[in-house]
Amino acid sequence: MLALLVSLLIAVYLLGPNLIARWAADLIVFRKTRVESHAEEVARSIIGAVIPLALAVAWARWSGALWSSGTQRDVETVFSALESDTFFQAHHQQFFTSLYAFFWMNYAILWRLYLIVLLASGLRVAIVLNYNRVWRRLNKRWTRTLLATIVPRISEWDLLFSDMLLPEGTFRIMADVLTKTGGLYQGTVQDRMLNNDGSLQSITLSNPRRFERAEFHKAKSEDIETVTDEFWFNIPGNLFIVMASDIANLNLRYIRRKPLSFQPSEEEREVLNRLLDRLKVPPSF
């Protein structure tokens, strides 16, 4: 019975908070799963739970809720009775009274512990969702590295393909994909699929187009002035999936959805103004 109680306490005090923290992290980033031994798992949970647990106990003691529910004697009675049948038989009545007090003592700590873990997880989610805004306000490299410790064990691919950590404003991620068979494709990254270990499984491109390399090289050998533009061909469809196992290399470029709207130069304004001015004049037929 004692082993059962200890297991239950480990579960609610250590593993529960850890599960909540992981669940919150999974809401915002694709975490890499690592195969860990049971001992590593427990050690990680203990280290992660120490601070919130210490805070919860301090809070419960400071508010008086802990000792108003029961005393240290109740705790000793419960553990002694569960460990020894003789003690249980001798203190049968006292055990159940202490068990009741023991339950409420744990309740006084646990709801505080879970509230602290939920608040900390919520704060972490908020910081990661606004990561770039916070990142830009930090000027020193060590403060930025410190900030990075708050991000869960994120997959490198998730970081590259996600717009979550991008600066404010809407971005699109463009990719040039060279396959192992020599095909060159280009498009906007619409989606990515990752394996459990965080490795890339596939990417989905929208508005895909294919570059005819052979034709280009042939034309180029005949005319040195040949430009690449005429050798891109649109691929019908909006869900072009490239399996990671077929990719030889990948060139990613991040561009704003409204590329001209962000702080245009005087020269750019001049060109655009001229265009808009001409647009006001009705076309002559």
Partner: protein
Amino acid sequence: MSSSELEYVLSLRDDNIGTSQKRLRAEIIEFIQRHEDAVLAQLRAHESAVIPTSFGEITLNLADLREAVA
């Protein structure tokens, strides 16, 4: 990914954004200058113009152009 690696990748990506943005804008402006009549015709017909760039085809809406010079 460790925190220092994350920080490094974010810095690289920040540089990538700056470089890509500069190049894309230069290509768009250059195309508009070279093919002003064609762009104008597209804007008149569809209130948007498709600009071929090395990043792919970029669609510029009339509203976005007005926003850019506002």
